[in-house]
């Protein structure tokens, strides 16, 4: 699942994931929607931006981890969000994608968390 309020960012990351062979990518526009979709769809991986309206990524992460301690979450961060990253680490986040990211960085991070995509 991709959770980001920017359609542009969701499109970019979705294209990269699709290229890698990952399927059934669902999307959420804010933290609240991410929690709802997580409860309903139980995605294998959540890629979530920190700064989002309605409910930010950190708050959404806390609630997702409360629902499922083993949830695999990768956070999209910007340089300088180190203090938030420490909180995410404590909650068991599996990785980070730092803006401005490139394709290689996303692929490596996802592969590390999920393993290669099943063809």
């Amino acid at each position: 699942m991709l959770a980001d309020d920017s359609t542009f960012m969701r499109l970019i990351i979705k294209n990269i994931l699709t290229d890698c062979g990952y399927k059934d990518i669902i999307e959420a526009e804010n933290g609240r929607e991410a929690i709802e979709r997580f409860e309903f769809d139980k995605p294998d991986l959540i890629i979530m931006d920190i700064i989002m309206p309605a409910l930010n990524g950190l708050e959404a992460l806390k609630r997702i981890i409360m629902i499922d301690k083993k949830a695999k979450v990768v956070m999209i961060t910007a340089v300088g969000q180190e203090s938030i990253m420490k909180e995410c680490d404590a909650l068991g986040v599996k990785g980070y994608i730092t803006k401005p990211f490139n394709e290689k960085q996303i692929k490596q991070t996802i592969k590390k968390v999920l393993g290669p995509a099943k063809k």
Binding site: S6, T7, F8, M9, L11, I12, N15, I51, A78, V79, G80, S83, K99, P100, F101, N102
Partner: protein, 212 residues
């Protein structure tokens, strides 16, 4: 009115906002390191505006402010302006030079040099992020520092755009460095040709055809 000049789709607007935020975010991080303080950034506003309205948007034409202005060159042309109200610029000068807060009452040539160096770091960090993400070559020139009424400051910045376009892309980022009460604005000003170049780079990034 703006839409007649250059109609941005909602996706292009979203992309521009996201990409320019990255640049401003990088610059704010650099400022945070320089000042050794946490800096809060508000979500930026991105607008295509008539250049005549810019001083009003920036807080009123007669308000005193310090502007650090860098010209952007390379694959695109534009301006990057970091604007501090007068009190904030004095505070920053004290912090950067390790002086007790409240020491600087007016900006000297030496203080301006400190602000200029800071502006150089800010503009480079901002443009590096944009260049990397969009795969465009963007460079910043040596920044100029001036303290004056906002209208006079912006007239100087906007003179170059008046010849090319009535409109500019304006990204406004407000940052706050508590508890020092340092407040500033970050403005990226691009003319329409540049906006088109960036929009085409965005289309490329999305694997779409170049916009004609």
């Amino acid at each position: 009115m703006v839409e007649k000049a250059y109609k941005l789709t909602w996706l292009e607007r979203d992309a521009l906002r996201e990409i320019t935020s990255m640049g401003a975010g990088n610059a704010t991080t650099a400022l945070s390191k320089l000042m050794k303080r946490r800096i809060d950034v508000t979500i930026p506003q991105l607008n295509l505006v008539n250049i005549q309205t810019v001083p009003e948007i920036m807080g009123g034409p007669e308000k005193l402010a310090t502007a650090i202005h860098s010209l952007i060159s390379g694959d695109t042309e534009g301006s990057l302006v970091v604007l501090f109200d007068k009190a904030s610029s004095l505070l920053i000068t004290d912090i950067l030079q390790g002086k007790e807060i409240g020491t600087t009452k007016t900006l000297t040539a030496e203080d301006n040099k400190v602000l200029q160096d800071m502006g150089d770091i800010l503009s480079k960090s901002c443009l590096d992020a944009l260049s990397e993400f969009l795969d465009l070559k963007l460079m910043s020139g040596e920044p100029g520092v001036a303290t004056d009424m906002i209208k006079s400051l912006m007239d100087t910045v906007l003179i170059q755009f008046a010849k090319k376009s009535d409109y500019a892309l304006l990204l406004e980022v407000e940052f706050d460095a508590p508890p020092t009460k340092v407040k500033g604005h970050f403005f990226l000003i691009f003319d329409l040709t540049t906006i088109e170049t960036i929009v085409n780079a965005i289309s490329k990034k999305l694997g779409r055809k170049k916009r004609i």
